[in-house]
Point group: C2
Chain length 312, copies 2
């Protein structure tokens, strides 16, 4: 059987981990890297993982997708979503044949729309990662805790390419990956956690999860934000049962206190995913005429804070 060919564009910690695992399982994985090009070109990736350390030596290392000489079966995109960064021109060189499937591993809502419009001939596998992976130096990635991946056809339904990728992941170690027919549900379900805890942790002055699950006003606020998410999801045809709210709170409370990824980004002076987590959802709410006052308040305040931070 011919090897599955994968190109990982903008291979950060998450992309390097998942596609590195696929390389371990026999896929031919090449990468496009920007700032860490020299380190990765010279030594590949060193991956320190709770599921076993390994070295991931890509088949090819490129500075841009256009340099990729082959036709990939899957092009992975794992960079963060920022509205003014159009990934389409970066990807175009690697999407020469309609047989190439685009795999997006990104947080938030509404992150597929622009690429679906730019590449109407290509299937998109929308994916959500539940993983703790951090780039600790050029070419070195540390993975801790979960390394789960859910993916499914953007728009929903069955997908031969999705099932093929699932079997490839099944033969890989260190990843718990699943193909699902209703990826939108999982995306909204993850947002039910991300939308309240991320902004509140930042706006509240640097709150860990414990402070937001303390049965006080901060917990009440995060619960109310979850209810707003449920209302928007319902308008989009996605049913997030009421019980998920309690489940999120209890699940979060059961963990040792930790910082949300948005708070980690904020404290490190890195850009926060304000639009993928909040902005797009507020716009969907407006489109449906749904009142989301707490969400809008957090979105407005967080946008201002992000702007102030970046201009300092």
């Amino acid at each position: 059987m011919e090897k599955v060919k994968i190109l990982t564009v903008g291979a950060g910690a998450v992309g390097a981990y998942f596609t590195g695992r696929l390389a371990q399982a026999g896929a031919e994985v090449s990468v496009v890297v920007r700032s860490d090009y020299d380190a990765v070109k010279a030594n590949g990736f060193e991956i320190r993982s709770e599921a076993g350390d390994f070295r991931f030596t890509p088949h090819g290392v490129y500075r841009s997708a256009g340099e990729y000489p082959d036709t990939a079966d899957y092009v992975f995109l794992t960079s963060k979503f920022f509205p003014e960064i159009d990934e389409a021109p970066l990807l175009r060189g690697a999407l020469k044949s309609p047989s190439t499937v685009l795999v997006l591993i990104q947080n938030g809502i509404g992150i597929e729309d622009r690429l679906a419009e730019a590449f109407p001939e290509h299937e998109i596998l929308s994916s959500i990662a539940y993983i703790g992976a951090t780039r600790i130096q050029p070419g070195v990635v540390r993975q801790k805790g979960a390394s789960d991946l859910k993916f499914g056809r953007f728009g929903g339904g069955d997908s031969a390419a999705g099932r093929r990728l699932a079997s490839l992941f099944a033969s890989a170690s260190g990843v718990n990956a699943e193909f699902v027919e209703n990826i939108a549900w999982f995306r909204w379900s993850k947002l039910l956690w991300n939308l309240p805890y991320n902004p509140v942790s930042v706006l509240g002055g640097g709150l860990e999860t414990s402070a937001m699950t303390d049965c006080g006003p901060l917990e009440a606020l995060t619960r109310a934000l979850m209810e707003e998410v449920r209302a928007v999801a319902a308008a989009e045809g996605v049913d997030l049962p009421d019980a998920l709210v309690d489940k999120n709170v209890e699940f979060t409370r059961a963990f040792p206190p930790y910082k949300t990824s948005m708070l980690v980004d904020f404290e490190a002076g890195r850009r926060m995913e304000v639009e993928a987590i909040l902005g797009n959802v507020c716009r969907i709410a407006r489109k449906h005429g749904i009142d989301v006052p707490r969400m809008e308040t957090c979105y407005t305040l967080l946008s201002a804070l992000a702007h102030r931070k970046s201009s300092h």
Copy 2:
């Protein structure tokens, strides 16, 4: 005519300015000061005012109200309102006779309740200052811009003591003071400005007024907060006409950009008046069953931020 006797308790910049002006006009003004006792005892107050510099040498300078040997006509309290600081024990020593009127110059809503309960025999004149006054060093106060004062009987209605104080102010220079029968209206009306702009300026990462009157999402948020204030005021029987919202925005936009007092406090590491400006209003809203989601969101976030700041 016997001199009007005034005791100013906790004489900060605002108290020193207003009652210093009354001393200039012939009142016998004593002060209770804490941290600046030595400077004020030695030299009185030096007041640098746009309406004319002057020196205010108090009749008596005390460390506590109980040391005041006389019976005051008016006891002024101008400290900030914090819920866990009970001013009653501090004031009790100066409120020996029911003829002594308590004059409160404080921001916010619900600031009179506790003192009205502690001193049921005493009339309270609830007052709102529109003044820029800053203590720049011990015993030295700078006043810039407006120096207006509105006061009226707590609970509303006419007041001989209020009218007497108004005529005393009328004979003083550098103050535009007015006795009103509906001080609650003016208090809510001032809150219509304070409640949106103060928290948003802090939560948005240090915003000047210009950023909140830019016709964008921050202006929309502050306007929506004003509408929530209007709803709570209405439930309290205070009618704040719709047109006041536009007026506030236009008035604020017309000024050169400046920082709100809460932002100034926050940046200086001083305590913010979260309860007087937000917390008490949220509780009144809850009492009436009025939904104030944006106000509650700001209150919850700002309380957390204030707590984080103070514990760092």
